[in-house]
Symmetry: C2
């Protein structure tokens, strides 16, 4: 039997609450993507959601609370996905290639995630920062440590500092979006579409694996 709310067409209170929360998070997501910045006024988020701005405090406690939910909402199984890749039966180099492609796709879905995480870690309460660190930052750091160790042990990767590699790959993915103004003003490219994301993913895998240098041809 369907719940009462569905039969009458009138949503129940709980559905209302959940729907309003989601509408605020969706509105914030849209505005951050459209404007290539996480600095979006609460008032405009509420306006886009068609809700009163006071509901942000009601549902999330504060703007920081809402930003935390934005950082966490798509990441419920983040650590588990990384762990599964570590446990898969491939050489380390193959796992790294899969990881890079997954990262480029993740930034295509949530282009501002890195900037949002850092804002929370820097500006939010200790408890909010701790949640992001435990759920998102530490699992990725640990993933890089184990992945490099596996790849060096199985001979598929050269030794590399896991933190250096982490900075390079995350930075290279993030800049495709946080550097959108450079793409526009420097290269006449306005926004990232599926084709650019896919081409960039292949570029990054090839660069990390083989590099772009080659010996000069024989004279």
């Amino acid at each position: 039997m369907k719940p009462a709310s569905r039969r009458t067409g009138r949503p129940r209170k709980d559905d209302d609450r959940a729907a309003a929360r989601e509408r605020l998070l969706d509105a914030a997501h849209e505005l951050m993507c459209e404007r290539s910045t996480i600095d979006v006024p609460l008032l405009e988020i509420a306006l886009r959601a068609g809700l009163n701005v006071a509901l942000v405090n009601y549902y999330f406690g504060s703007k920081d609370g809402m930003l935390l939910q934005m950082a966490m909402r798509h990441q419920s199984n983040y650590a588990a996905v990384l762990q599964r890749l570590l446990e898969a039966d491939y050489p380390g180099a193959a796992k790294l290639g899969l990881h890079i492609r997954g990262m480029v796709r993740a930034f295509r879905r949530v282009p501002y995630l890195q900037r949002l995480q850092h804002k929370i870690l820097r500006d939010s309460s200790e408890e909010e920062a701790r949640q992001v660190a435990v759920a998102l930052i530490q699992p990725l750091a640990e993933f890089y440590r184990q992945l490099v160790a596996q790849g060096v042990a199985d001979g598929s990767l050269k030794p590399v500092d896991p933190m250096h590699l982490h900075i390079t790959i995350v930075g290279a993915c993030d800049m495709l979006y946080s550097g959108s103004a450079s793409l526009a003003h420097g290269f006449g490219v306005y926004g990232v579409d599926d084709a650019l994301s896919a081409a960039y993913s292949e570029h990054l895998v090839a660069l990390v694996m083989q590099g772009i240098g080659r010996e000069p041809p024989p004279a």
Copy 2:
């Protein structure tokens, strides 16, 4: 003969103005570096400089005007430096290595430069955005186009999309600073010192040139 101001020990009006401008720019620079963010309130910048906040408008017209001067102040010969490297008598791959090392050093001096440029391009007036685009964004984009063309022509570089390479290198340099919270919470590294900057520079050159993949060893 020294100017009157130096002889009497009392700075002239022009010196006062120049000194106050510099103090504001220096204070903003310090705060942006200390806090790993470009979101620093004007009032705190003025406080750090020991000057009245109204002077920001007096000297720079607006906060945006001050940010523009911050982006431009160390970049007076930026395009000329890039052009000189393009005209040097090295293979393209060697020039790319020098460029990467120079970029890592540039971010060590001005860790927030990339974020500041993008803020100006996104939020400031058309004229301020145009100045940053012409002085900083377009010369770097053109540098990548010509450098890759040179390296492919002389056989020292594999073909690569100059924009992809630009995104990767700038992103990899920027993340060392904009990702400082990841370094702290994920790797226990608090701040970038000379040793980390130098090691990261060598990592990035090696990664871009040779990659980190290698054939599995013979069984």
